[in-house]
Symmetry: C2
Subunit: 157 residues, 2 copies
Amino acid sequence: MLRLSKLTDYAVVVLVRLSGMEGMQTSPGIAAATGIPEPTVAKVLKTLAAGDLVSSQRGARGGYRLNRELSAIPIADVIAAVDGPIALTACVDGSTSECESRGLCPMRGRWDPVNDAIHSALSRITLADMQAAPLPALRMPSPVMAAARVVLQSAAE
Amino acid sequence: MLRLSKLTDYAVVVLVRLSGMEGMQTSPGIAAATGIPEPTVAKVLKTLAAGDLVSSQRGARGGYRLNRELSAIPIADVIAAVDGPIALTACVDGSTSECESRGLCPMRGRWDPVNDAIHSALSRITLADMQAAPLPALRMPSPVMAAARVVLQSAAE
DNA sequence: GGTTATCCGGACTGGGGTAGTCCTGATTGA
DNA sequence: TCAATCAGGACTACCCCAGTCCGGATAACC
């Protein structure tokens, strides 16, 4: 199974939460709203700020806010900010360390097309594509929406 | 960084090696040819046999052989055989365990489009695409091939 | 039928990486 | 000046993977 760090999952949750509210939001506030432990939220936000996805404001009444809309944030950017460059193996992510069986390995560099394919796939999906009506305080204006929610529910379980 | 288990990388090397030789091959033989430790090769081969990518033959003069040609093996199959189902997060891989912040998490099931995109990207790339002329005993029939090798070399480093 | 070569399945362990916490300092507004 | 908040780093505990090892089963050869 391809594994994504849990922090990336948290990052998506946090970013969606940020987009849902006006103005600045503090990490304790986001933690309370999402159920993610506060120190972890702070860690994620700091990482996202370093990746230029959010801006921070220090001091009293400070907090974080989104730099771009969700639809302008491909999931690849989030993964890159939290987990580093997108690559499947250590062999091909630009590391300079030598592979132990370098002289015999017939696969050197061959993962590149795979990495490219994944990167382009992830670049085409934005957070807006992943976003849906927030589950808490859900409004159901129509039976269609209710049906949609059932589908989403079962897909998630 | 998306991480692929090292075993998957080994699996690709082993499968390419299997395709390069006629008849049965033993795990010690493959280990010697690839530089991968013998117990690890055996482990990979057992996993691949369970995934129906290779067939095994017990007893003296036994060994392993490919079930299909490289061009008929998408990399997605290899990953699925070695690492399990292709999914980015534990949330969406069919596990029955509950997410700790289930009621608040707005992302339940939202990774599905991402997983689908990655899966389809990986299904389009076969081992034949990743294979190239084996580096040991390399033949260079034309300057074009020599130039190609330089490109592959630099891409791998 | 015995011997040899090989695969099979599981258990075990050490190391690396991640998640999560904590602390100290810097910045800003009241 | 004080309180609220972010910044940056260090630290620890835990989990998972990589790699090894062992006893057993199977098949070919002599």
